[in-house]
Assembly symmetry: C2
């Protein structure tokens, strides 16, 4: 039976997960693949810390070139994250004729053109299932299972940290900081959680999915991104009363002529299949012209789910290389010549339903002023909650759902409302996705 040698760059949590799975599940992998996967070399700056997995003598090195230049290694797995030196390592691996597997969403979102082109040009495989949705087989589904379909929307909960925080706020009625702190204590959020809570990590992932679904490269600065830091327990409570849950969604829509790509908190109905996707789980919904919708739910992070997705890619590449080919499926889902930018939707044309939250003085005439301004901007109110007395001089909350409206009109109306002297703090808007 053939032995296939794999090189690993980055021996952190996921790297150790990869080694653990290759050891523990060697038998089933071999029974399915008909070949044996062997770790040839592992490069990491730290080769002394015990990762709790067995590694043969001579496998560890601090020099990535020992992996990249090893002629016996057919596949290089990059798990160091970040832009550099990850980018240089991947490009050198491809240059040296090696297939690559990566979980690096930031890199693929920013340097996708360069890296995917290099793989396509050399006829080599590039696996990145683990870069979006961890264990969820979304990349493979778009690149293969849904190949006959014309996509109209991809949207999902693709950041487990943010979902954990929102779920916790919802279940325990606690505020953002408390939930974040607990996420950090449990290891679900990093010491610097900026990428997760500000929606940047979700933007990386939706950029990758946009490229695959529509064959459309998109740069990160073209994505509207809003995080979850200003979501309050009050928002969550009102959402519940209106029959919704608040989730951080990454959304990419294509109407046939332009794309609309954004990341922001959104309200989804409680009976929506993604409404019960809580904690660190991820979910991705794919809409197309033939299948209607498919929703995939699974663990978006963690050493074993992500590690298993990485090995799934390795197995796919080995199945190809065993029959002497590099790439059966184009890296970007579309043939390289058919990957081209699609215009961005004019932001002034975007329409949705909105949840609006105001904090206003507790006095007569306030509602008339606010609803008057909304009316002047063609925004019609669907339902409203006003409650409580102003006991501490900070105003009372006034929340409403408005019918489908033009977002520019809503933003203009909010700006005008925030200039009223009866309004106590900056108003907030949450989009509704049905």
């Amino acid at each position: 039976m053939k032995n296939v040698k794999i090189g690993l760059i980055g021996f952190g949590t996921i790297g150790a997960g990869v080694v653990r799975i290759l050891t523990k599940n060697a038998d089933v992998i071999q029974q399915r693949l008909g070949a044996i996967l062997k770790i040839g070399k592992i490069a990491d700056l730290d080769i002394t810390t015990d990762r709790g997995v067995h590694v043969e003598r001579g496998v560890l090195t601090t020099n990535a070139d020992d992996v990249l230049d090893d002629p016996d290694i057919e596949i290089v797995i990059e798990l160091i994250g970040g832009y550099e030196p990850a980018r240089s390592f991947l490009l050198k691996a491809l240059q040296n004729g090696k297939h690559v597997v990566t979980a690096n969403k930031a890199l693929l979102a920013k340097h996708g053109d360069e890296i995917f082109s290099a793989a396509d040009d050399k006829g080599l495989g590039i696996g990145f299932e683990a870069a979006v949705g961890g264990a969820i087989p979304i990349i493979r589904s778009i690149r293969e299972a849904f190949s006959a379909n014309r996509f109209s929307a991809i949207e999902g909960i693709v950041n487990g940290t943010a979902n954990y925080i929102l779920s916790k706020m919802s279940d325990e009625n606690c505020d953002f900081q408390t939930a974040l702190q607990e996420a950090q204590e449990k290891g679900y959020a990093e010491a610097d959680p900026t990428f997760d809570i500000e929606g940047i990590d979700s933007a990386h992932k939706i950029a990758i999915l946009t490229r695959l679904a529509y064959g459309a490269p998109i740069s990160l600065d073209e994505i509207t991104v809003q995080g979850i830091t200003n979501i309050t327990p009050e928002d969550i409570e009102c959402a519940r009363e209106f029959g919704y849950r608040i989730k951080l969604l990454a959304i990419s829509k294509f109407d046939g002529s332009s794309i609309d790509v954004r990341v922001h908190p959104a309200m989804i109905p409680v009976d929506h299949p993604m409404a019960n996707v809580n904690g660190v789980l991820n979910a991705i919904r794919v809409c197309d012209d033939m299948m209607g919708e498919n929703i995939l739910v699974g663990h978006g992070a963690g050493a074993l789910p992500t590690g298993a997705a990485v090995i799934g890619d390795v197995i796919e590449i080995v199945r190809n290389s065993l029959i002497g080919t590099g790439t059966r499926v184009p890296a970007q889902s579309f043939q390289k010549a058919n990957v081209k930018p699609i215009p961005l939707k004019n932001r002034d044309e975007i329409e949705a339903e909105y949840f609006l939250r105001f904090r206003v003085k507790d006095m007569p005439g306030v509602l008339a002023k606010i609803s008057g301004i909304l009316g002047n901007h063609s925004i019609s109110i669907e339902s409203m909650i006003q409650r409580g007395r102003d006991d501490n001089g900070k105003g009372v909350p006034l929340v409403m759902m408005v019918h489908r409206s033009n977002e520019k009109n809503v933003q203009d109306a909010l700006a005008e409302i925030d200039r009223l002297d009866v309004v106590c703090e900056k108003s907030n808007l949450i989009r509704v996705e049905n």
Copy 2:
């Protein structure tokens, strides 16, 4: 650009869907595949009815051999369903060196050994994504994305007709017959709905998934099958009060030494991600040692979802054949030599939580008798609802949830209880899956 000729046997609803998709989405398919898919021949006994799709002159034939013996046709799609002549057609196609794609779950569940072996032996591709879960990419995910994992359970809502009926009964509080009749009027249930409502279709599908997940062939008579015909509006109402929904589940569990495969109505908690999978939607949950759980939700039937799954398989096969190979991935997920039966779990060892429904005389001492018998069989009651007065002499409902118990004990207790003269009708049991 290469033209690939496809033959189609069976020009019913799904066949027409396949032709419609190939026409309407020819551009995206070509942009992804780098080849052009052409329908070479279509065989059906009826070649005169208008299917609402354009077919070129000379393509239609009433003789399947015109498809099977056409040297230009590389891939044969079988969509006639049933055992014969579908089996003979598929075997002849493989014999003639053609790759095959089928949506025929009954055939693969019953004659899987023969058909998968024929494909493996000839080194030809066999696609059957459409046979289970329609548009849901479950076959591909098990065969490829999850290749590094050791599965412990696959369970799902895999019959859209039954799910439509149960959803309707739940939403509108109507009885089984009313819901079935509406399903038939809307075209979601066939004139003879036996396979769907008695769980037989679900058994076919879970047999296929069991084979792929564990490499274990299983014959249909080894599967415990119970349909939904005895589910009452009362059961659904009580489930709701206990915080559950009733779904027809197909379940396949593997504890490392034996498998437990069954189809029956089950109660799942309302906050379970599959609890909101309603109407004709399907959902499949996969549990393994590395990824934890993955849940896939989508349309399980319909001309376009199923047709698109069929074409997804065709595209996979063409991607292989363009690089000169038939099978990268073994048909049964495991290499043929590693596919072997796993012992069935002894039914006497099965444990679960149960929902029990009795109809009893409205008189003192009844509850003591029933709970006494349950206690004698080591069954402990978790919660109970008894309600109403016996106005018409037919007894009153008594329902209870019992803690985890041995199923044989529960069945024995029910048999004993049903012999009591205070019990008005045969008692019912619904398993709880958490």
